[in-house]
Every structure is written in C-alpha cells, then in structure tokens.
C-alpha cells in the first residue's frame, strides 16, 4: 500500500482509531495485523519474508543473550547475518552476481558453459524485488548485532519484536530504526498529547505536498529528458541534474516525513532521516544530513568495525571507500550505483585532504551566515554525481554528462517552454525554502500552534495538493530499493 494511494486515506484513520482504543498486547497485535496488511496489500507472499526475518532474529537474539560461549554466540549471529543478507542476496543481488559471473567465465574462455547454466539461473532468479527488503533487513540485523555486542537486552515478547520489524510507517522506506530506540516505545503504549497529534498530522500533510506537488513534477521532467538524452538540449539536461537531486530528496524525505508524522500521532518518535542536505557546507557534512539512518547504520556496523579513522590516513581512505561502495550497492544491484558511491568517495576524500592541508573549519553544528553561501553553493555541486543514481543506465549517465559539460550549441530548449518554466518555478520554491531555513527565518512559522492557524495551514496544504498535483502519481522512489 502506498502512502499516496486512496486506500491509505481510509487505512490510516482506522489504524489510529484502533490505536486510541486498544492497549498492551492487543494494541501490538492490532498494529502487527495492520502492518502486515499494509505490506502485503499488493503481494501477500511478501509477508512470509517478513515473518521469516522476525522469527530468525527473535530466536537468534535470545540464543545469543542466553549463551556465554563465544562460539555459540558467534554462530547465532552468523545465522542471523546469513539469513538476512542471504534473503537480500537472493532477491536483490542474484541477477547482478550472476551477470558478473557470466562475464568472468566468458573472459576465461568457458563461454558455452556460462551461457547455458547462467541464463537458466538468471531466469530462475528473475523474481520481483520485495518492497522495502533492504530497509527491514538492515533494521532487524541491527537488533541481533546490538544484542551480540551486549548493548541491548533482547525482549521475550514476540509481538514486540514482530512489531519492531514490521511497524508499517517506516517498514518499506525507513527511517531504519535501532531496536534500542524503537523497541521500548513499541513494548508499551506511549502517551500522546494534542501536540503529538497536531504536529504528526502536519508532518504527514507536509510530506504529501512534497511528494505530490514537487517530487512528482520533477519526476515527469527527469523521466522525459533523461530517458532520451539525445533529444534534450544541454540546458534541459543541466536542469535535469537539479530536478533529479530535488526529486530524490523531496520524494525520500516526504516518505520519512509521513512515517515520522504517523508514528508521532501514535506517540512514537522515529529518528530524523534528512536535515536539509542542500544546506551542507562540505561533502562530509552532506552525509550527516542525507539519509541519516542509513549512513549512521553503515558507520556503526561497517565503518567503525573496520577501524574507522583511527588506523592512519590510508586505512581511513580504504574504509571510507568500502562504506561508499556499500551505500551505493545497498541502493541497487547495478554498476551505476557503484560508480555513484565511487564518485562520492572521491569528493569526500578530496575534501578531507584539503581540510588536512588547510585546516579549514568543519562547520558542523555551527549556525549559518551569509558568508557561508559560497561553501553551500560549492557543495551544491554534489548534484552532479546524482546522475549516476537517476539515469536509466551508466551509458545514459555518460551521455548526459558529456552533453552538459561540452560547449552548448544549438537551441536552448527542445521541450515546451511551459514545462521548463514549471520546473524552474518549483526549483525556485525549493531553493527559497532552503535559504529561509538556513538563515532560520522560518522560526516564527514553525512556532505557530493556535488551532485556527494550524487548521488553515492544513486546509492550505490539502488545497495545494488538489490544485498542484503532478499528472502521474509516482510510487515512492525508494520503494525500488
């Protein structure tokens, strides 16, 4: 079920009413049923994967906790890791790995064998990617790893673990939660105030506006010009770079907004996933503002165990390369995501080298000033590697970059001027919102709490969706991961 689907307009109030009426185990069972209904709406068999992951990690966590023998603990941890990553490998990466294996076999001269055997395997593996599998496998993995590290005591309440894995607001596209934060909130009903309800509903509506009025319009333009880059002008492709970056940010952060808002309406606090990433003043800061729940997950469970930045400059470079490639590959089974990760690693490494040499300040956590504008503008050019993320293929991405960075000749536009004007207007609004936020000029707006003002705001947001929605309602971009 999609947040922006008609069914969800009926589903969400029903679940919230149930939440208000129930408590304890009955409430957890209600939310589990709602979450499985939400997840299995289009493909009921996906629920089996969810149930498998839940059962595996519930058992593994209890066994790890119960044993003092290092071997047993490690074996159960490995079982959890292998089970979850194995599921991910089969459904998400088997096609890519088999393609690589085929190329390798072809390169060493066993082409005949590779074609017959591997084509069959690829066909067998050609199954639809279950929605959200990358999100909930990482979330559930963190549970067993934290128990293994003795940072968390596992719960014996199966319904709490089942709800932790399946909690519908953040199930299919995050934020990727940690058991230490979410499990206690799910184990007993949280008190919710009128503030929670109002702030949560506002957040949900705001997310829907970001999705329907902004992200979907950008999606229409990007699909058009990037789908056939040969027919688009360099200016349109350049605009496409910006439109896609904002599309990705607004689409994904819209999902996070809706998830956080819905959870808050149940009194549950989810972690923030984005903090205005285009206000970053350097590439390192960018990663503290973009898909925070994934970057912190990779930091805690990959980067730090590899040694982080404590083992010298070269090892730090290597570790950050592994992290960037892992983040790239997490997004999709395609070489273009590896290139995307690699380019971000280059940005990151160059910046670190520059900082080491010049001793430039890191900015992190400091308030903005107009003097930060050049740094923000410079970092904004992180939009360029996004082409590897959004273009249909690597070859499309190369064509787009070649055309954008070659001398611009010929007509400026090949698409209707009106369509380009819509995109420019939306980019202008998004950029203005960033500037207002960066300079903290929206503080008074955020502080408004009167029912009259908030009610009018809600009506305005709904009216904005009614009038300004894009012609093709797209599903959320991160559903494909």
């Amino acid at each position: 079920m999609l947040f922006n689907s008609p069914e969800f307009v009926l589903f969400a109030p029903l679940v919230l009413l149930g939440h208000a009426a129930l408590s304890g185990r009955a409430l957890r069972l209600w939310l589990i049923c709602a979450s499985y209904l939400f997840y299995g709406w289009g493909e009921p068999w996906y629920c089996l994967l969810l149930a498998f992951s839940t059962a595996l990690d519930y058992t593994a966590a209890l066994r790890i906790h119960a044993s003092d023998r290092a071997g047993v603990r490690k074996a159960w941890l490995l079982a959890s890791v292998a089970g979850n990553l194995g599921m991910l490998g089969v459904f998400k990466y088997s096609g890519l790995f088999l393609r690589w294996a085929g190329a390798l076999l072809g390169a060493v001269g066993v082409e005949g064998l590779s074609i017959s055997a591997l084509e069959t395997s690829v066909r067998l593996a050609d199954v639809a990617l279950p929605v959200g599998i990358s999100f909930y496998t990482f979330q559930t993995l963190s549970y067993t790893i934290d128990v293994y590290r003795r940072q968390l005591t596992p719960t014996r309440d199966f319904t709490a673990v089942a709800l932790y894995v399946a909690f519908f607001p953040q199930l299919v596209a995050g934020p990727i939660e940690r058991a230490g934060q979410l499990l206690p909130q799910l184990s007993q009903k949280q008190r919710r105030s009128a503030d929670d309800l109002i702030a949560g509903a506002t957040r949900v509506l705001w997310g829907l506006v970001k999705k329907a009025v902004f992200a979907d319009w950008f999606a229409v333009f990007v699909a058009d010009v990037w789908g056939t880059p040969e027919t688009a002008t360099p200016l349109e492709l350049f605009l496409g770079l910006h439109a896609f970056s904002f599309q990705l940010y607004l689409d994904f952060s819209a999902y996070s907004d809706i998830a956080i808002g819905l959870a808050r309406m149940m009194g549950i606090r989810l972690r923030e996933n984005f903090r205005w990433p285009f206000l970053s003043r350097n590439p390192v800061e960018f990663w503290t503002r973009w898909h925070i729940s994934l970057t912190t997950w990779v930091r805690d469970y990959v980067y730090v165990p590899l040694g982080g930045s404590n083992l010298g400059r070269n090892r730090t470079l290597f570790n950050s390369l592994i992290v960037m490639l892992a983040i790239g590959l997490w997004h999709g089974a395609d070489e273009k995501f590896l290139v995307w990760g690699l380019v971000h690693w280059v940005y990151d490494s160059l910046y670190r080298a520059w900082v080491n040499k010049r001793g430039t300040r890191w900015y992190r956590g400091k308030p903005y000033a107009w003097s930060d504008a050049p740094a923000v503008l410079f970092t904004y050019f992180l939009v360029i590697p996004q082409v590897f993320f959004g273009a249909p293929s690597l070859s499309h991405a190369w064509v787009i970059l070649q055309r954008v960075f070659s001398p611009w000749g010929g007509p400026l536009l090949s698409r209707p001027e009106g369509r380009v004007a819509v995109i420019l207007a939306l980019l202008g609004v998004a950029a203005t919102a960033h500037i207002l936020r960066g300079l903290d000029l929206d503080r008074r707006l955020r502080a408004i709490r009167s029912p009259l003002a908030v009610g009018l705001l809600w009506a305005g947001l709904i009216a904005l969706i009614a009038v300004g929605y894009a012609p093709d309602a797209e599903q959320f971009y991160y559903f494909r991961f």
Partner: protein, 327 residues
C-alpha cells in the same frame, strides 16, 4: 485532544469554504474555443471540454477526429481543415468549431468525447475517422486519453449518463475508476488547475504513456463494448456515439492515402453502406465517404495530409457540412 479536534474542524471548514469559492468562480478561460487544438494533446481533457456559455445565435460544430484532424505535422494550426472549415462557416455568420481531434483516437475515446460534446448542445458533431477506428482492438488509454482524463470524464455523471451502461462499465473496468476519481471529478478546487496556464503548459505533451496506464496495445479489454467485439461491437459503438452526442451527427469516412488497397476501399464501402442503412430512419445522422476526396500526392505519409491536402479536404467538406447544418 480537544485542540486537535478544533484544528481538524477549522481545516474542514476552511476546505469547504475554499471549495464553495472555487465552484462559484466563472468558467475557466482555458477552453476549447480559444485555440484550434487542445494544447495539452493528451492531458486536461475534462477542463478542456467542459461546457460554457456561448453567444446566442452562434453555430457550433464539434470535430471529433484522429491525427488527420489534429495534424501534428502542421506547425500552424490555422492550416488544418477544421480551421479552414471554421473560416468558411464564419462567412455565413457567427460560428465556432471545436477541434477535439486526438492523435490515434479510437472508438471509445470518440464516444466519450461525443458524450462530452453533447453537453455543449452543438449544431453538428462532425466525426472524421476510418472504419477501423470502431472495430480494431486497441487499449483506449494507450493511444489517446491519459487514464486520469478518462477517469475524470467517466466519473462525471453529466457526461457518463449519455453513454450506454455496458460501454461505461467496460471503460471503468479498464481504467480502474476509484472513489477518489469521483471526488476529483466533482471538486471545484481540482478544477482550479484549469485556470493555471503554466500548469497546463507544463503537462503538455509529457511522456507518451506510462506502465500505470495499462497493458500493451491490442490487449484484452481494448476497443470493446461490454463483452462484444469485432464488427458488431464497432457498429454498436458508433451508434452509442451518435446517441451520446444528442445532436446531428455527420460521419465522414476519412480520405484514404496512397497506400490504400482495393480491399481497403471495399471494406470502407461496405462499412458506409451498412451504417447508412442502419441510420436511414434517423434524419439527424448521416454518413458520407471521403475515401477519394484528396488525391494521393496531397499526402505527406500514408495517412497524413499536407497543407494543400487539408485545403482540398476542407473544400470537399464545406458543402456537406453546410448541408448537414441546414437539414
């Protein structure tokens, strides 16, 4: 909780007020009479074809055709035969021609548009199409309407009740009409979109089709009328169009291009004779064949006319339209 409910109440009241204001506004200025072709091509048909007041005594002809009427190859729309027809009609007094031609239009789309045309109470609905338009299977929204537009038109009871229930039911099943479509079709707020030319231009000629819009062409549930298909279904569809228009209808078998075979001509003749016989008792409906109205050298391609071809066809059409209007 009380604060939340108060906020909710304020929001609902404000939305209702906004909806009331939107409904009270005069009709949109973005309307089919202001230009020669729908600028959105595949989008915005409900707003584009919505009825509006027209000057007393103005004669109105609504043209329903395919790419022969839309003429995508002619940059200047004033060169198309519907425009030339309008100029001819203007010589005899105030007149308007709405060109609702749609590239690759099929029978169900033309029937839905005819139902919409009927709401304008036109003096004539001029349909220019081939005989295959009403009998070849092809998924409706693949080639013409966007699914959302078709949903909007079908959800609009004023248009939908003019069409036979089996056709409506079949089309609704194809596009998957949902309760939100009914809300959207009746919402004054949503109709405010028609007042935003930038938005309309923004969606003009966007993507060709999307997977959401249905399966491949020619799939099951394509150009059907209920459970019927083939020649009989095509006839029923054409009759449904005639009834939905609720106005005199002149069907013109479109000019055949240089690639037309003798079999094509024979099929056209049979179609025209069969339809003429069926429509004979109805004085308000007639059919003529323009198979040879334009010489082959006036075609740019197998089916598309050049500018001179449009002029020739308009000259051929003029007296027949005059005749239908005075009948």
């Amino acid at each position: 909780m009380r604060r939340f409910l108060t906020t909710l109440l304020v929001a609902v009241a404000a939305l209702l007020a906004a909806e009331g204001l939107a409904r009270a506004l005069p009709p949109s200025t973005l309307h089919c009479s202001l230009t020669d072709r729908n600028p959105a091509v595949r989008y915005g048909w409900p707003g584009w074809t919505a009825p509006r007041d027209r000057p007393a005594g103005q004669r109105l002809v609504v043209v329903l055709s395919n790419s022969q009427g839309f003429a995508p190859e002619l940059e200047d729309p004033s060169l198309t035969w519907p425009s030339r027809l309008r100029r001819r009609l203007l010589e005899g007094g105030d007149a308007a021609v709405y060109n609702w031609s749609l590239n690759a239009a099929r029978g169900p789309e033309l029937a839905v548009l005819a139902a919409q045309a009927g709401r304008h109470e036109p003096d004539l609905v001029l349909v220019v199409a081939g005989s295959g338009t009403f009998s070849q299977a092809q998924a409706t929204w693949r080639v013409g309407f966007r699914a959302n537009d078709l949903r909007d038109l079908l959800a609009d009871p004023a248009a939908a009740r003019r069409l036979p229930e089996p056709l409506i039911a079949g089309l609704r099943a194809q596009v998957g009409l949902r309760w939100t479509d009914h809300v959207r079709a009746r919402s004054g707020l949503v109709r405010l979109r028609d007042r935003l030319p930038l938005l309309e231009k923004g969606i003009a000629q966007v993507a060709q089709e999307t997977p959401e819009d249905g399966g491949g062409s020619g799939g099951a549930g394509g150009n059907t009328l209920g459970a019927h298909r083939g020649e009989g279904a095509g006839d029923a569809l054409l009759d449904a169009l005639r009834q939905a228009a609720g106005a005199p209808v002149l069907f013109v078998g479109q000019p055949l291009g240089p690639g037309a075979s003798e079999a094509d001509r024979a099929a056209r003749r049979a179609f025209v004779e069969r339809t003429a016989a069926r429509w004979q008792p109805d004085a308000g409906a007639s059919i003529v064949d323009a198979a040879d109205a334009v010489t082959p050298e006036r075609f740019l391609s197998l089916t598309h006319l050049d500018a001179r071809g449009h002029a020739d066809f308009a000259a051929w059409l003029g007296p027949r339209v005059d005749d239908a209007l005075t009948r």
